[in-house]
Symmetry: C2
Subunit: 195 residues, 2 copies
C-alpha cells in the first residue's frame, strides 16, 4: 500500500471517528448545562492521564495510557454509551462493541488496525498496569463531574453511596489507589449532605 | 506540597479545563449538524496525530505531539476561538492568550504548570519539529471537516482556493508536506466544482 493510499484509509477512519462527537453520555458538563459527549469526554480523560500520571503505580507508561484513552470509546459510535449505573445485558453489549471494533479499526491499513485493536482489547481486558490505570482514570472523571454539577448522573440514576463505591470506587482503587483515597472522603461528604 | 495537595491543585485545573467543551469553533461536525467545540476538536486532532504519525518528518516524537495537541486550545477558555479566516488583532489576541496560559497553567503545582506552559509556548512558537507537526495537524483537520460537510467554514467565510492555500495549505506543508500533498488535489477539486 502506497503512503498516499495509507492516508486515504486513515482519513476514512478519522472521518468516521468524528461521529463520536454525537454520542451522548449520562454525565453532564461540570456546569450541568448539557450531557457530555463521548469525544469531549475522551479528550478530558486523556488530559486527566497527562496531568495525573505522577499518581500512577510504578511501571505505568503514561503515553500508552493516553493512547488507550483516545481510542477507548470509539466503539460507542456503533454500540452507544452504556451508563455505568444503568442496566444492560453485558454479553450482548460486549458482542456489539467487539463487532464495532472490527468494523472501525478495519478501516485502517491492516497492520495499524491490528495494533489499535490490540490496544483497545488490552484496555477492555483491564489486566496490564497501563490498562488498569487507564480504566481507573476513565472511572475517576465522572464522579468529579458529578461533584462539580451537584450530583449529575448520581441523581438521574438515584445512586446510593454504597452503589457508587461498589461500581466505581472499586475500579478506581484497582488501578489508581491514590486517586481513590483522595476522592473517597469528598464523595462520602457529598452523599452525607444529600441525606 | 503533599501528594494529596498536588491532586487538589491538579483537579482544580482539570475542572476548569471542562469549560473548553463550551467554546465553539467555526468548523462544523463532518455531518454539518452543529459547530464543533474546542474540546472535541482537541480529541480529534490528538487522534489524527496518533493515526498519522508515520507521515511526520523524521525525528518527530508523536507522544509529545499528542500532549501538545491535548493542551493547545486550553487558552480559548478565556480568549475564545479565533477563526483562521476571520479578522483579528494579532497582538491583542496573543496578549489575551498569554494571560490565559498564565492563569490556567498557574492552577497546577508550580513545577508541572511550568512544564505544561513550556509545551504550550513551544507549540505556539512553531519552530521545533514536534511543534511544526502538531501545528500542521491542527491545520489539517478543519479542511477535512469542510470537505466532509460540503464546504463548512469555507462557505461561512466566503473563502477562495487561493486564500485557503495561503492561510492553511502553507502551514500544513510546513510541518507535514506529505499530508498537504494528499490534501491539495482534493481541496482544488472541491473549489473547482464550486465555481
Ligand atoms: Ca484554535
Amino acid at each position: 500500500m502506497s503512503s498516499a493510499d495509507r492516508i486515504t484509509a486513515q482519513m476514512a477512519f478519522l472521518n468516521e471517528a468524528d461521529r463520536l462527537k454525537s454520542v451522548s453520555r449520562a454525565t453532564t458538563l461540570a456546569d450541568g448545562s448539557r450531557p457530555e459527549n463521548s469525544a469531549e469526554h475522551s479528550w478530558h480523560v486523556a488530559l486527566y492521564a497527562l496531568v495525573l500520571a505522577e499518581h500512577a503505580p510504578k511501571g505505568v507508561d503514561a503515553s500508552r495510557v493516553i493512547r488507550m484513552l483516545l481510542l477507548h470509546d470509539l466503539v460507542e459510535i456503533d454500540a452507544g454509551d452504556a451508563p455505568v449505573f444503568g442496566d444492560h445485558d453485558t454479553a450482548a453489549l460486549e458482542a456489539k462493541e467487539s463487532a464495532a471494533a472490527t468494523r472501525l479499526f478495519g478501516l485502517l491499513p491492516g497492520d495499524q488496525g491490528n495494533a489499535m485493536r490490540a490496544l483497545w482489547d488490552e484496555f477492555e481486558a483491564n489486566e496490564t498496569p497501563d490498562a488498569r490505570f487507564a480504566k481507573s482514570i476513565d472511572r475517576f472523571q465522572p464522579p468529579n463531574q458529578n461533584l462539580a454539577s451537584n450530583g449529575g448522573s448520581w441523581i438521574t440514576y438515584n445512586v446510593s453511596y454504597d452503589a457508587m463505591v461498589a461500581r466505581v470506587g472499586s475500579k478506581i482503587s484497582n488501578g489508581a489507589p491514590n486517586l481513590w483515597n483522595w476522592l473517597q472522603p469528598r464523595v462520602s461528604d457529598f452523599f452525607a449532605r444529600m441525606r
